[in-house]
């Protein structure tokens, strides 16, 4: 997002055609056309190094982790814990005790809701979110409010889809116990001023959870620089497999939190009278984890850093600017989400053509976009629309993809005359 690379230098350095060759699925033909994949914000594709790392692990190293003295169990444990160290470096966390492997962002947020918020919040306490959150950063907090009697507050956005920071600041008070915000809006692409929000929240004694699902593939995340207390993200939106994600939490907060799921792995000793829990991070990882997923996630982090996160971000920013300009030339197109600071997502409607019909028409041209409410129904309600079409860009997209999208939208206007 904050890519301090001169456009010319980045254009020379970044070779999207070479990046595309790392993603075998991009050679797929869809409905007789070469695939144009513009749905990475829903789930990105996987490059060969990730596919190979998972295959290599499954072929040569698999056994259960932390459970055996035999060679494969040690190999699996070292791969899994190696992935944790990789994630620590990726986020610049202080310690691997702060890296909890989870299924994805949704599970990470639910973990904090159930283990941090639910045991300690009470009537009179407030949880503050924003109007552009994904359902995964709304519903878990509603569940906490229902269980504890605390109150959910929502900071508003404007018609461009920008957070009204001053209004958020006014909603902060000593009653605010937790602030939960997206780093980047999945439906609108808006980038939130996380650092500023964290500072304001901390000044009121609130902890901050950041939903980083849409941010990790597009920017370098430094949890210490951001100051976030919790940072959640999914592997599958950053070129890793599904079913693996990370919850980063500040160690002193995690240490004080009770486990939220019980079982193997998360214990030290069990008797029928008393069970003692394992140390961080395993206290929060009951049951056999997604070992190959973690291996794939570590490979994806290697891959992204080998491309250069800043170079990827600059490339995507160019595509976003190009797509925005090209779409605005099409009669009937309205952009939904025009924040000054955006990442990698262009959401839009086309007059006279429902988003769902648009999705079908583009699909017949081999173009994959997301259509619908993007798990952000309150955002759709705010803009008074049932749905949008959303094109999102990843490291492998090209200017040709944008041209194909524009041509596909022309076809949609033709069909609907």
């Amino acid at each position: 997002m904050a890519a301090n690379v001169s456009p010319r230098a980045a254009r020379q350095a970044y070779d999207a055609a070479r990046v595309r060759r790392d993603f075998p699925i991009l050679a797929t033909q869809v409905n007789g056309h070469p695939l144009v994949y513009l749905d990475s914000a829903a789930s990105s594709q996987r490059p060969l190094p990730v596919l190979r790392a998972v295959e290599d692990y499954e072929t040569h190293s698999h056994a259960n982790v932390h459970r055996g003295v035999h060679a494969l169990s040690q190999a699996a444990t070292s791969a899994f814990e190696g992935a944790r160290e990789r994630a620590r470096r990726f986020l610049n966390a202080r310690s691997t005790r702060e890296i909890i492997f989870v299924r994805g962002t949704t599970e990470a947020i639910n973990l904090v809701a159930q283990s941090y918020a639910r045991p300690r919040f009470a009537p009179g306490d407030e949880i503050l979110i924003t109007a552009l959150e994904h359902h995964a950063n709304i519903v878990p907090w509603q569940m906490v409010c229902e269980a504890t009697g605390c109150t959910l507050k929502v900071a508003p956005i404007n018609r461009r889809g920008e957070l009204l920071y001053e209004e958020l600041a006014q909603l902060l008070s000593p009653r605010t116990r937790l602030v939960a915000i997206a780093h980047v809006s999945n439906a609108l692409g808006t980038v939130l001023p996380v650092k500023r929000i964290v500072e304001a929240a901390h000044a009121q004694g609130a902890v901050v959870l950041v939903d980083g699902a849409q941010a990790v593939p597009h920017s370098r995340i430094d949890v210490r620089a951001l100051g976030a207390d919790f940072y959640a993200f999914s592997g599958h939106k950053m070129y890793a497999p599904t079913g693996i994600g990370v919850l980063y939490g500040r160690e002193e907060l995690l240490a004080a939190m009770p486990p939220w799921q019980g079982g193997g792995e998360m214990i030290l000793t069990v008797s029928f009278d008393q069970t003692t829990y394992n140390e961080l991070p395993w206290k929060f990882e009951a049951g056999t984890p997604n070992i190959s997923g973690a291996v794939g996630l570590a490979a994806a982090m290697d891959y992204l850093e080998s491309l250069g996160l800043e170079a990827v971000a600059a490339h995507e920013a160019r595509l976003l600017a190009l797509a925005t300009a090209e779409l605005l030339r099409i009669p009937g197109i309205e952009l939904v989400g025009t924040a000054a600071h955006k990442a990698s997502v262009v959401s839009f409607t086309l007059a006279g053509v429902h988003a769902h019909d648009l999705g079908t028409i583009l699909d017949t041209e081999g173009i994959a976009v997301r259509t619908g409410h993007h798990c952000a129904m309150p955002v759709m309600t705010f803009f008074g629309i049932p749905a949008t079409a959303r094109a999102s860009f990843g490291c492998y997209n090209t200017e040709d993809d944008v041209a194909r999208l524009v041509a596909g939208l022309g076809r949609a206007r033709e069909v609907f005359g």
């Binding site: 053509v353 079908t360 049932p386």
Partner: protein, 152 residues
């Protein structure tokens, strides 16, 4: 997959100019209006179906709401097709429509009339729910006991 098979002229026409669009109010003479709401959470389509029965016969029907071309056109075509029909005939018609929407090789029977224009949907499995939403909503309006159907 041929787009022209899905978006036939009849479909586009009924999308642009939906027939029997609007609400039905209860007539003073006691015509009870049955009503149900349908919602497809995947794409945000919402529609309401209003039916006035005369005994077993659908005397009048209207719908309102917003949705994609397939759901709007399907609802519009449905209202034309079922108006004046007995409940039992409507149930048989729904079976035939459902078969048409879900079987690639289904040959539209003569009974379907204009509804045959929906046959292209079977090539687009993701869109079957759009086409059936109005029918399920009509079923809810007709099928529920008086206690669960809102009457106006």
């Amino acid at each position: 997959m041929d787009l022209k098979e899905l978006y036939r002229d009849v479909i586009l026409d009924h999308n642009r100019h939906p027939r029997n669009f609007g609400r039905l109010e209860s007539a003073g003479s006691g015509g009870e209006v049955l009503h149900a709401d349908g919602h497809n959470p995947l794409c945000g389509d919402r529609l309401s179906v209003y039916v006035r029965l005369n005994g077993e016969r659908i005397e009048d029907i209207r719908f309102e709401g917003s949705g994609c071309a397939i759901s709007t056109a399907s609802a519009s075509l449905m209202t034309e097709a079922v108006k004046g029909k007995e409940r039992a005939a409507v149930a048989r018609l729904f079976d035939q429509v459902h078969n048409l929407l879900t079987h690639h090789d289904a040959a539209p029977g003569a009974a379907l009339g204009k509804l045959a224009a929906l046959s292209g949907v079977s090539e687009f499995p993701a869109r079957v729910k759009c086409a059936t939403l109005s029918w399920h909503t009509l079923n809810a309006a007709l099928g529920h006991g008086a206690a669960t159907v809102s009457t106006e």
